[in-house]
């Protein structure tokens, strides 16, 4: 996989957010987003720890405590299916199967082309339109088999054409 982040880029992200402990989560989220594989590599964790003056064990504690972070590389697009009870009763289990059928993967798995990872997530605050899937900052609700297929197709298109976002395609 092409390495998207460099030391300079990471330093810029830290500076842009403000190099302080209050900005730590924002910094790490942005590094994760910019990594191309939705995770924070150890190399960048060490750099952030150095910059905000935090022992690496404390930074690792933060990285592993908050559910949005991953220290293991994931797909370019992480599909998060909410499994909280309001979505569960609107059959989120079936949505998992639908995505699974489209992509050929199960929960916590990544497609062979490293494009998609399928995950469960906690409530994302869209309970009125359950069942819900979140990809990056986009939240898709009232899902059906057709919508699931359309979503997957649109992200494949984003990847193919190098678009910034799938928002306009759906």
């Amino acid at each position: 996989m092409k390495k998207q982040l460099t030391r300079d880029k990471v330093l810029k992200i830290i500076q842009a957010n403000g190099c302080s402990k209050e900005r730590l989560l924002s910094i790490l989220l942005e590094i994760q987003q910019a990594s191309g594989h939705n995770s924070v590599d150890e190399e960048w964790a060490q750099l952030v720890a150095e910059q905000v003056q935090m022992p690496i064990t404390q930074l690792y504690n933060v990285l592993t405590f908050y559910a949005m972070f991953s220290t293991k590389q994931r797909g370019k697009f992480v599909i998060e299916i909410c499994k909280s009870t309001p979505c569960h009763v609107t059959k989120s289990d079936e949505i998992v199967k639908m995505f699974g059928d489209e992509l050929g993967i199960g929960i916590s798995e990544t497609t062979p082309d490293n494009l998609f990872t399928l995950m469960h997530t906690g409530c994302v605050g869209a309970c009125d339109i359950g069942p819900v899937a979140k990809i990056g900052e986009q939240v898709y609700g009232n899902l059906t088999r057709k919508k699931v297929a359309d979503i997957v197709a649109s992200y494949r298109e984003v990847e193919q054409h190098g678009y910034d976002t799938a928002a306009n395609l759906l």
Binding site: Q46, E50, P55, I56, T57, L59, Y60, N61, T64, F65
Partner: protein, 590 residues
């Protein structure tokens, strides 16, 4: 209960605990108040020398008018409180909490290193646990054991997540090699990125081991190596014992903390089969000779000051990792343990005609970092590994029990010559301020050429984390500082780094209280026990006929016959060393 903080701190508070009235100062915890009336509320995560975490929830009690239970360790008493520690409700709730811990714990006590000294085992016993109603939710016993570190082994399967080790490493020692990670059922105590301890900034001080209530952290057991050496008829096995061992070993055999066990310890070591029983205190006197002269030389030639002591390997590693720019301040003297090893395989070998490759040196230490120290690659100036194996106080006790030695019934015996005679100055090496005082007792007479009237430098004594003093030396004022515990050392070093202080001589010991509180001492060490051990050291010192290192006749002979004089070429070859910056992890210095 915010009204608790409104209490006048000077007003005593009267509460009832299990119907018994007790009056205590404001700010007293329920736990402490209960002790005063003979009630021992059970605890697990609590430790008297650490801050309160209140996360095990074993010490829960009921308070009248409160819906939820209170944890006795973290709750201060309030006027008129009615506490119940022993109702059916509370006993059942506590038992449920304990059962939940036991359900996830490998219950193989008979094969565990803490069999008989485990705090969880004691709780299960005291609670009368007959069965655990819960089946494990995680796969118990399947986590990998981290045992490639030279000094410390981590078995996360046995961790009860009390957090004491994290507290000690993060807040007290400020090494920060381990921390909590993840959350929920994955909550664990580990290194960053699940590395082996070997790959972290761990300095082997073993304070984590010292506070662990169970068998999740322990020292590398090297007793098998020592048995093999003792059973090998071709080897001449020699043992040295650190000063802090003799005032703590007795606790492993039921003696009160601070019992002076020297004579029986020597006899016991002979029963194990050591060919010679020597005393690290001998080489502590040598250390004073070398370091005292080094101090004078630096003062006279305006060398790098302050001179900082170097007998503590935990401190050395800490300096190499966190303060490499201050390495020039370190004394080039090796520790007494390492000086001993180098001398045994040269001086003693030559004196006796025994070939050094047949000499096996064992060292009994209150310390886990000494295991790391003896294996440092540069520690072979004799031409061989100077010290072959280090055993902790606990490991020695284990060997003695395996050998059926009834230690308490043994007669008092004395160390062997030529490396068994020592002084009061040497024995106090084991407690914070001891190295400083020993050095001053010699340096004073070397510089003034006058006898020192009062040998007791009480101003440098005590377990306080940072001490400062001024000593008059031939019309010159020598400013000294002493730190014990690496967090305290760090504060001092920051000041030295910033040039805010002008000490000439600094003593640093990694463990709180000094070696008497080392990572290899009997489990259950507390500040209170350290106080007793410390008192014992000064008692031994007071009673010894010779209390100054330069007056040790065996040391005088050593220089006459072998080393010539302090800081000689031979001394430098065998007894001095160098250090290296280990700032390779890109860790941040605070």
């Amino acid at each position: 209960m915010s009204h608790m903080n409104d209490a006048d701190p000077n007003q005593p508070i009267t509460v009832t605990i299990d119907g018994i009235s007790v009056t205590v100062p404001a700010g007293t915890s329920i736990l402490e108040a209960a002790k005063k009336v003979g009630i021992s509320i059970p605890i697990l995560c609590h430790h008297p020398d650490l801050s309160v975490r209140a996360n095990c929830r074993i010490c829960i009690v009921e308070a009248k008018g409160q819906r939820k239970f209170k944890t006795a360790c973290s709750t201060e008493v309030w006027q008129g409180a009615e506490i119940t520690t022993n109702s059916k409700t509370i006993r059942e709730a506590r038992k449920t909490v304990l059962e939940l811990i036991l359900a996830e714990h490998p219950r193989e006590c008979l094969e565990c290193i803490r069999n008989g000294s485990c705090e969880l085992q004691k709780l299960a016993q005291d609670f009368g646990i007959k069965e655990v109603a819960f089946t494990p939710s995680r796969h118990v016993g399947e986590l990998p054991i981290d045992d490639i570190h030279l000094a410390i082994v981590r078995n996360p399967n046995k961790c009860v997540k009390c957090g004491r080790c994290v507290e000690v490493c993060q807040e007290v020692q400020t090494v920060r090699a381990i921390n909590t990670a993840h959350r929920s059922h994955r909550y664990e105590i580990s290194t960053a990125f699940e590395k082996n301890l070997e790959e972290t900034l761990c300095v082997s001080c073993g304070q984590c081991v010292a506070v662990c209530p169970v068998g999740a952290l322990y020292e590398q057991d090297e007793t098998a190596k020592v048995w093999a050496a003792l059973d090998n008829p071709d080897l001449h096995v020699v043992v040295q014992t650190a000063p802090a061992v003799r005032v703590a070993l007795g606790e492993e055999f039921g003696m009160e903390p601070g019992s002076i066990f020297t004579g029986k310890m020597v006899a016991a070591l002979r029963r194990l089969g050591f060919d010679k029983v020597f005393d690290t205190d001998f080489s502590a006197d040598v250390t004073i000779m070398e370091e005292g002269h080094e101090l004078l030389e630096r003062i006279q030639t305006e060398g790098t000051l302050p001179l900082i002591t170097s007998c503590c390997p935990g401190w050395i590693k800490f300096a190499e990792e966190m303060y490499p720019e201050l390495l020039p301040h370190l004394s080039t003297c090796k520790s007494p343990q390492q000086m001993f090893g180098a001398l045994v395989k040269t001086y003693y070998a030559q004196k006796t005609g025994i070939s050094p490759e047949k000499i096996f040196v064992v060292s009994i230490m209150p310390c886990t970092a000494k295991k790391y120290e003896c294996a440092r690659t540069e520690m072979n100036d004799s031409g061989y590994q100077d010290v072959d194996v280090v055993l902790t106080t606990r490991e020695l006790a284990k060997m003695l029990k395996q050998a059926n030695v009834s230690v308490r019934d043994l007669p008092e015996e004395t160390f062997d010559d030529p490396m068994g005679t020592s002084t009061g100055a040497a024995v106090i090496f084991g407690t914070s301020g001891g190295v400083m005082e020993a050095a001053l007792r010699t340096v004073y007479e070397v510089v003034t050429q006058k006898p020192l009237g009062n040998l007791d430098f009480t101003v440098v004594r005590g377990l306080t984390g940072i001490k400062e003093a001024e000593v008059e030396l031939n019309g010159q004022t020598i400013k000294v500082a002493i730190a014990n515990g690496l967090g305290n050392a760090r504060s001092l070093l920051e000041k030295i780094k910033e040039g805010q202080v002008d000490y000439q001589f600094v003593e640093i010991m990694a463990c709180p209280g000094g070696c008497i509180g080392g990572g290899g001492q009997p489990f259950g060490t507390t500040m209170a026990k350290k106080h007793e051990r410390m008192k014992a050291m000064y008692q031994v010192d007071k009673k010894l006929p010779i209390r100054q290192s330069h007056k040790n006749p065996s040391v005088v002979t050593l220089y006459k016959e072998f080393l010539e004089q302090p800081l000689s070429h031979k001394s430098h070859e065998l007894l001095h060393t160098g250090y290296a910056s280990r700032n390779i992890d890109k860790e941040v210095k605070q």
